[in-house]
């Protein structure tokens, strides 16, 4: 991995279309700004991995029988509770 030292407000350029800026530094946290073309997706790694895992779980359970119960759940008008 390429490691570069940057000060507050300084920029790293990746290719000619991506800019990474150190926006603020506070204790153990660094706020980073990323400027990239729209077609390049930028994600927090652990959030992306969580979405990928949830997509895998969803695609592995295409249960049409269970799916039939969704309509009744929604018509009850219950918005739902948060789980985790």
């Amino acid at each position: 991995m390429l490691v570069l030292t940057r000060k507050l407000g300084e920029v790293i350029k990746v290719g000619d279309k991506i800019k990474i800026v150190v926006v603020s530094i506070d204790g153990g946290s660094v706020k980073i700004g990323v400027e990239a073309p729209e077609e390049i997706a930028v994600h927090r790694e652990e959030v992306y991995e969580k979405i990928a895992a949830e997509n895998k779980a969803a695609s592995s359970q295409l249960d049409r029988e269970k799916a039939k119960s969704v309509k009744a759940m929604l018509s009850k008008g219950v918005g739902g509770k948060k789980n985790g």
Binding site: H43, N55, L62, K66, G84
Partner: protein, 147 residues
Amino acid sequence: MSYSTAQLRTEEKEAKVKLATRQFGELEFDGSIVYHFPNGLPGFEELHDFIIIDDNDTEPLRWLLSIEEPNVGFAILEIGLVVPELNRELQAEELEASSVFCVVTLHRDPEPITVNLKAPIVINRTSMSGKQIVLNSDKYSTTHKIN
């Protein structure tokens, strides 16, 4: 016997795609209903082309099915049916969105059905494209219970 160019063009345009699927049997559909996901979906980055299946038995739940890997599919719901205010927010932010869906996880019984509100699927019917976006807000969970 020769065909005119016009006839050939018409035939091309109406070309049907045939797909054998485990869940829905043999499907035949027009190539123009395929949505292109340039980045795939997280976990399925290599899959780019999907169709949306309306299913009378399960409505309002629909199916987003990969045509490259027909055993990969997702149950989806219009996000407005679950959280109307999130739908309004996203329609305002994602100007090119025609519809916003959430992925439904039909967990094995007795686990409850959950929806992923953290990563909605945005569909654009004009460009026939789609993407799964990730919301910054911690307000929305990947496993939101609907019952």
